[in-house]
């Protein structure tokens, strides 16, 4: 049985979500803790702003919008991949240990090497995420038993690392201080050079994701059914792990751990276009940034003149949505 979406519906959805995303980008530039009037924002964008407005728009709002776009897209796509691959609607990229690996690397960097600049932790976080996911896939991906072993390995290694990370932060107050900020997630850490360097990884992950879509459709009914259709399940498994690692690892490296986006976006997207991965993946790529930017904007305005970190707001935006969905429908087939 092949899974399809009516083409018209898919394209319409993509168009609508893209339009919503455009609105979110504009809002992200226009709104913030500093109540700049729209003409001032436009002046600043055109290069005519005062020192204060130029700083706010070009040094703060533009970078965080870009980070929100990249991280949101990466997390949305990674979440869709994880849920399709594990055939479990509760799967989340964090299950592979991405967040725990990044946090561990950041904690080591801060306590052993004294890293403190937000930009300095981007590459250690990325490296940590990559190494841990590799370890998890070595331990958990071999042998039969499907994705359950992989998830268990991710949960287990994640637990070990989170214990060690807590140990490091409880004995080093500076590390604790830095980590409690990093843990909340923020779109302001990475500079534009880091973004430029990380973007290719995200692009590679996205391309790989699209290539995996037809195979994932075939795996929806089980590995055996897929094999009988000629799909190389082992290769798809490796491809998914690599793609999720690149996408979720890059997102965590530039924005800190923003949980929940990867979990809820695929649900919402599947609700709109159904379970065909060829439609779910592109739409997740677009819907992810909508949620991340919306959460960031909300964080900027709700307690102005201060801000609430985006990682904190996302759960309060996403969880009620997820709970509402769970209450409306019974377990939905992927």
């Amino acid at each position: 049985m092949t899974v399809t979406t009516r083409p018209g519906r898919g394209i319409l959805s993509v168009g609508v979500v893209a339009a919503i995303l455009a609105v979110a980008v504009i809002a992200s530039l226009a709104l913030g803790a500093n109540p700049l009037a729209p003409p001032a924002v436009i002046d600043a964008l055109a290069g005519r702003g005062t020192r204060e407005t130029s700083f706010v728009v070009w040094d703060l709002r533009v970078p965080r919008t870009v980070v929100g776009l990249i991280a949101g897209a990466a997390l949305g796509a990674a979440g869709a991949l994880m849920q399709a691959f594990t055939r479990n609607p509760l799967a989340d990229p964090g299950l592979l240990g991405v967040g725990a690996g990044a946090a561990f690397a950041v904690a080591l960097g801060v306590s052993l090497f004294g890293l403190s600049d937000p930009g300095e932790v981007v590459w250690p976080a990325f490296a940590g995420a990559l190494l841990v996911t590799m370890a998890v896939s070595v331990i958990g991906a071999s042998g039969p038993g499907g994705p359950v072993r992989l998830i268990l390995a991710g949960v287990a290694l994640g637990a070990v690392l989170s214990g060690i990370t807590t140990a490091i932060t409880l004995t080093d107050p500076e590390a604790f201080d830095r980590m409690r900020g990093w843990n909340a997630g923020s779109l302001l850490g990475a500079g534009l050079d880091d973004l430029g360097a990380i973007a290719p990884f995200v692009a590679a992950g996205a391309v790989l994701a699209f290539a995996l879509a037809p195979g994932l459709n075939a795996m929806a009914l089980g590995d055996d059914v897929a094999r009988s259709q000629g799909v190389n399940v082992g290769r798809i498994r490796i491809g998914v792990i690599v793609a999720v690692t690149l996408l979720a690892g890059a997102a965590t490296a530039i924005a800190g751990p923003i949980s929940f986006v990867g979990l809820m976006i695929p649900h919402v997207v599947r609700w709109i276009v159904g379970p065909d991965q060829r439609a779910v993946l592109p739409l997740s790529l677009l819907a992810g940034p909508v949620v991340v930017l919306a959460a960031d904007i909300l964080g900027r305005v709700v307690i102005a003149p201060a801000e609430v970190p985006v990682g904190v707001v996302v759960a309060f935006v996403g969880a009620p949505l997820l709970i509402a969905l769970a209450r409306r429908r019974t377990a939905r087939a992927l």
Binding site: N34, S116, P118, S186, R300, A306
Partner: protein, 305 residues
Amino acid sequence: MSPRSRLVLASAAGMIALALAGCTAAAAPESASGSAAPGTRSVEHARGTADVPDQPERVVTLEPLELDTAVAIGITPVGAAVAGNVTELPSYLGVSDVAPVGTVPEPDLEAIAALKPDLILGTESRHSELYEQLSAIAPTVFIASQADPWRENATLIGEALGREDEVAGLLTGVDDECARLKSEYALDGQTVQLIRPRDETTLSLYGPVSFAGSLLECVGFTIPDREWEDGLQADLSPENIASATADHVFVTAADVDDRSAIPAAVASAFPDATLVDTSTWVSGVGPKGAEAVLGDIERYLSANR
């Protein structure tokens, strides 16, 4: 069983556990009333009354303010709780040979007992659950909260150490130094801002009731009005950094010589900001810390006369 009665029973189970735990919890020991034994005197503190030795010789402090005050009047404690397990005692205090007894949030009872102290100083808001155990080792005096005005806490600490007059003298000394700087530099009407960078999206400003803020104001500066949380501090997004303008801007940092640690928002809005040491201006609450802060302020004023 309907969901609702299930929920009721769940709450009941929890409440029973709570009630039993609370009821059998050891109540705070009755304050020893009546006359104290010879060689000791009674001190009233946040957890009642304690009989402390007239001249304590082996003191253990569990709070940075207590350590600072003791050192300021010449008593070197035998043991002190440190901020974290890999940090040593603050260098501005200039003491060594003080055994670490665990961390400020989690003191190590056995290490304290092994030092055989004759007086323990702690904080009710942090060490509340340890009071009975600490009292079993040695007479224990608790200040109510480290967030209370530091001069009041220092006075109680001085009383516990049997040196009220010396502490009072130190506090008067701080006031006198403030008055001297105030008259020498005539800072009326000049505004000041103390900024502490927290993370990428938060900058903290310190208000007139905070430790360093109160010292800045007693020297004659004015911290511009805003909505302070308990008068202590206010958080700001980097987008609003311009609203923190003042004639003089101080930024806290771990290393005062490393200007790269200043966040971009602050550096662009206030390129002439002065770096000050977090370990004294933020964490160095106490008479010696006040001495260090006033020293920094004087050096700044004379360099920018």
